[in-house]
Symmetry: C2
Subunit: 681 residues, 2 copies
């Protein structure tokens, strides 16, 4: 327990790698038998720990308390290894079941910890595991990522966009990469960020906004030397750099008259541009493309399909082991709200499922987890289940665009876990969860900026941590991950403090859902900035996001029988479940059905009373969190405590605003009195 913040305040908050994390590496005799560029990083971590806590490198394995070794296939016999029980057991485990390139085995026996990996990358992950979790329990533990692609997208602009600011949907200060139209000269913060990401298993980062404006387009060409500086920083932590590119680059940058992907000169332009990128950045990761979406250019301009659009870029990248992340976020953003037959939820399926099998092998179709846009509650996008011959990445949103913008506590681990565990085939034996369908891995939009706490809200660091850990182990328990994060981030906190932090976070997503848009209907946010309530904020807009509330009822009829038919995009049993008013889960009821206010939910409450009750409860939940947090004032560092305290005041205010506006809106519309007698203005 500390009563004052003793951390180095000239730097940003250390997140889950505070000074204390090096204690697990320091004070030890360390033996390293490994090679590869990331071994330098491993050594420097030990060196840093030894400087703070003592300890030294040793040349004889039997002298060591920590051993880091690589095993190769076939294993080079090293008799000395057999003399150390922890190494022997770890090596045996690696031989029994070979390690994947990024995997590692942690073994502890006789006061010795062994980290055994097949590559320097795996060795680094093993060391970082030790830093996050401390000394392992005796025995052997194997860790390896479920998927090789674990990626963060930054929606960072090089120049401050007049509407979107420095970071589109960013709530944590300015871009850590860019300032004043240039790549930052000082990349020290980026290095510290890369270390944090490596510690949770992230191995790819796209550094610029998917809406690629004119300045940012130049990253691909004129600004390459600066991009290479950033790539160098990430490379030390086993992270490959990607760029978002503008589909019209051949026109914008190359001076061609067309960006038609089927023109030979366009393909050639991409090939040459890509070769130049790899000359500068040999391990460049690839391109992220938002095409034909919300005003961005794309293949539709030339009458081409999205497969035809993506494949020339993929061909340019393929010789270099590069990837195209092609976003499936394509819909009509000039929808007529008067037209109830059109349904934005259906758009991605309609555009992409017919193309299944037509994308090149190194194209990853990046699909938002839900059919709309990162709402607090959506069904899982049926596109993910429908594409069987296309690499699919599930796109999550760590930045809290619709979930409180890092002013509200909202731990999204449980939300993502529900998505990753969802089974399109239902609960039958052998049904594969989304985690397994994500053959292209996982991608999320980062929530980090120049803010002292990296993420604006200190507790929003938990989301970045959880995304990394879930991308490594998609079926992990999000509450176990939460406790891991608490342990790493608050090493000095006592059990009470940890329990309080856990209690505030574990149900915070459910709480946020309670006081915002009810029963899966979504939006009801200010169209200006997506923060705060505006029940009709999108109701008469062109964005395809409506609730259709009238005096009799509310919700979007997406059934096949009487609605837009979206439910039919799911395989059985979900198409029938969502179609059925009786079977549809309460929390998605208004996503799939338009129901009268007196419709009785599975919970036994009516829709209108549910709206009244949950909104009151949600605010009460936040007030409880506020009181609990107040009790930590001398139990965690004061800077963190103060920031969260300040933000909780805003969350209480905003949650009350949500409650009052939504309750009043529906009271005025329905005329149904609140059964509890609460007044609603």
């Amino acid at each position: 327990m500390t009563t004052t913040d003793t951390r180095d305040t000239t730097r940003e908050h250390p997140a889950w790698l505070p000074g204390e994390s090096s204690r697990h590496l320091g004070g030890r005799r360390v033996y390293i038998d490994a090679h590869g560029p990331l071994v330098d990083t491993v050594r420097s971590e030990f060196t840093r720990a030894m400087a703070a806590h003592g300890g030294r490198f040793v040349d004889v394995i039997t002298d060591a308390e920590i051993v880091v070794i690589l095993v190769t296939e076939p294993m080079a016999p090293n008799p000395a290894h057999a003399d150390v029980a922890a190494v022997r057991e770890a090596a045996a485990a690696a031989e029994a079941s070979p390690l994947t390139p990024e995997g590692y085995i942690l073994a502890r026996r006789d006061s010795v910890t062994a980290i055994v990996a097949a590559t320097d990358h795996g060795a680094l992950y093993g060391v970082l595991d030790l830093m996050r979790n401390g000394e392992p329990a005796p025995g052997v533990r194997r860790e390896q990522p479920a998927h090789p692609i674990r990626m963060l997208d930054h929606w960072d602009n090089m120049t401050v966009h007049p509407v979107m600011g420095a970071v589109e949907r960013g709530y944590a200060g300015d871009s850590i990469f860019f300032t004043d139209g240039e790549v930052r000269r000082d990349l020290d913060r980026v290095a510290r960020y890369a270390r944090l990401l490596a510690a949770v298993g992230i191995n790819r980062v796209a550094i610029n906004n998917v809406n690629v404006h004119r300045t940012e387009a130049l990253l691909l060409t004129d600004k390459l030397p600066d991009v290479a500086r950033v790539a160098d920083v990430f490379r030390s932590w086993g992270i490959r750099l990607h760029l978002s590119v503008n589909f019209a680059s051949p026109v914008l940058l190359g001076g061609l008259e067309s960006a038609d992907p089927l023109l030979p000169e366009v393909a050639e332009w991409w090939r040459e541009a890509t070769d130049r990128v790899y000359d500068a950045i040999p391990d460049f990761g690839g391109y992220v493309v938002k095409a034909d979406s919300e005003g961005q250019p794309g293949p539709f301009s030339y009458g081409r399909s999205h497969a035809e659009g993506a494949n020339p870029l993929a061909a340019a990248l393929a010789p270099h082991d590069g990837i195209v992340h092609w976003r499936a976020f394509v819909y009509n953003h000039h929808q007529d709200w008067r037209d109830r037959s059109t349904d934005r939820a259906k758009a991605a399926f309609g555009h992409f499922v017919p193309l299944d099998g037509q994308f090149a092998d190194n194209v990853v179709l990046q699909v938002k987890h839900g059919p709309i846009d990162f709402q607090t509650r959506e069904p899982v996008s049926p596109v993910i289940g429908a594409l069987t011959h296309t690499n699919v990445a599930v796109e999550l949103q760590v930045t809290q665009e619709y979930t409180g913008q890092q002013k509200h506590v909202c731990y999204l681990g449980p939300a993502w876990s529900e998505i990753l565990r969802f089974r399109f085939a239902g609960e039958t034996d052998g049904a594969r969860p989304v985690a397994d369908l994500a053959t292209g891995g996982f991608v999320a939009v980062s929530n980090v900026g120049t803010d002292h706490f990296l993420t604006g809200h200190p507790l929003a660091q938990a989301n970045l941590y959880a995304f990394g850990r879930l991308s490594w182990e998609p079926l992990a328990d999000p509450l176990r991950i939460l406790d891991e994060w608490i342990g790493a981030t608050f090493p000095d906190a006592d059990d009470h403090a940890r329990a309080v932090i856990h209690s505030i976070l574990d149900s915070s997503w459910a709480t946020y859902e309670k006081y915002t848009a009810p029963l899966g209907v979504g939006f009801m946010v200010s169209s200006r900035d997506h923060y705060g309530p505006d029940v009709d904020g999108y109701e008469y807009s062109r964005w395809g996001t409506y609730h259709f509330a009238d005096r009799d009822g509310v919700g979007v009829d997406r059934t096949q029988a009487t609605g837009t038919g979206f439910a039919g995009q799911y395989p059985s049993p979900w198409r029938e479940r969502y179609e059925s008013l009786a079977e549809c889960p309460d929390d998605l009821l208004l996503f799939f059905h338009h129901v009268p206010y007196d419709h009785v939910l599975k919970s036994g409450s009516t829709v209108i009373q549910h709206i009244y009750d949950t909104h009151t409860e949600g605010v009460q939940d936040v007030l409880r969190s506020q009181a609990a947090w107040a009790g930590l004032s001398n139990r965690i560092d004061s800077a963190t405590h103060e920031r969260v305290t300040t933000l909780l005041v805003e969350q209480v205010r905003s949650a009350g605003d949500w409650r009052d506006q939504i309750q009043t809106y529906f009271f005025r519309k329905s005329g149904v009195a609140d059964a509890t007698g609460r007044p609603h203005y």
Copy 2:
């Protein structure tokens, strides 16, 4: 009739002083016997006209076709005058009833036009009258302004405000005065603007935004030399320059610790600052102050009344014949929408009526025409009727903030005329109209910027023209003014074209009212920029502008019996009329009453059917205007025709949006079917 635009397109559109206007002065023998600085301006107008159309100055009055003379009190007998009938008759009229300083007499007899005035200012106005209206009919016509203060306020910023732009509520390009934080070097456009204003009788202009940001505050001190350059330009046209000032200037600029108006050092600071202003600008007009309003500093910060706040500034200005325009736009802009007892409409009355008689003689209380904020339809502010010992200026808004933002045709002359003719005492003999109560004259917010047409929408020039003319002659017929404007602006248009332009404009305010917020309820606009419909856009906001629509009815109960009591701020008979559901005029019904949707209006329609019908009609009106305008394609200059054609497309779109959103909103809320069978989504 012209089929091409022959005007000088390197300059902005000439508005109501096209090249043709000089024709009335040119080709004539002109005799001038007058003195004073503005006579130079008069001479230069004649010189310009003679250069284009011939003519010459003559030394002998009997040789002249146009005579400009000043008469003084007592009239210096000039025997030669008696030899010219027009002069003789004009002088006789001036002797019978002396001319006010800015007045003039136009007489025509025996092919001679005489302009007789008491001052050079009056002479200038007489000459400009000739330019606008052409040769007068035979006989004698006397013109003089009803009030000596006829003022335009510019809400221009020196630097582009991140939200409000270069001109707050400006829809016509950038500021004509400022660019990049400085007064413009080239003031030629300002000179042409000043000439246009003089031609319609404006004699005072405040050049900067009433929200005085840090840069603009410096106009009062550091930037005075530049302000003086602008004042020089206006001076040639008989216009005095005013500045908006920040109430906290003694702190911001003077380095004092307080701006408490009762502190001697604060009063002294104002006195010294003001003296310096007059050193630079001897005819400086005075200060405009927005205090304690929407975040601006004011006397409330020091526990002082607004009279205590205004009087020290007035004392500083008084020795120089300067005026304080003190805005009465003071209200709580952090209102709780849940609290139905608070009423923004009551605020100005509550703040200012108790101070009646406490303001210095050279303070003008500048009162918005309605109690809220320049809505399309509001009752006249009761403050105007209640202040009997305070100079009151009626503030109108030429810039179309809430009336279509110069994208919609909306001729406001009829709206202003209704206000100016309103009689607080009802229709009894001797009841004085608002025109007479405006003892401090008239002020309006300008709609001019760097746009080629000055006002964005070419037809919005009519509003600027009408404000000038109504400030001169407040009870003039606004449709006669409209025809005057059409004649001056479209000198080549044939009768058909003039009739079409008249028809499009004369009912355009009524049309705009039809398709926007119904029955005086106001707002229902986007809170982002006040353009376009958002029925609930302000319903849950802090701005005090609500409609309280629920499933049963709509409107704000401002009665004394059951509502906020605002109706009680009016004298009889209006307090009773507004209070009474039976007597309240339909067009203000929802401003004063919350009524059920089936309430029957005086028109015989129900409220809900009225909403449906007027919104459909409003769009039909715009479509008719669009068709009529299309017919003018070869009858007026092409640039004007094209601009208006383009804007009418937007007006049709926007009006349709208003119609559909408002009809759908109320259909969904009321459940009442449209009696005409129209579908409403």
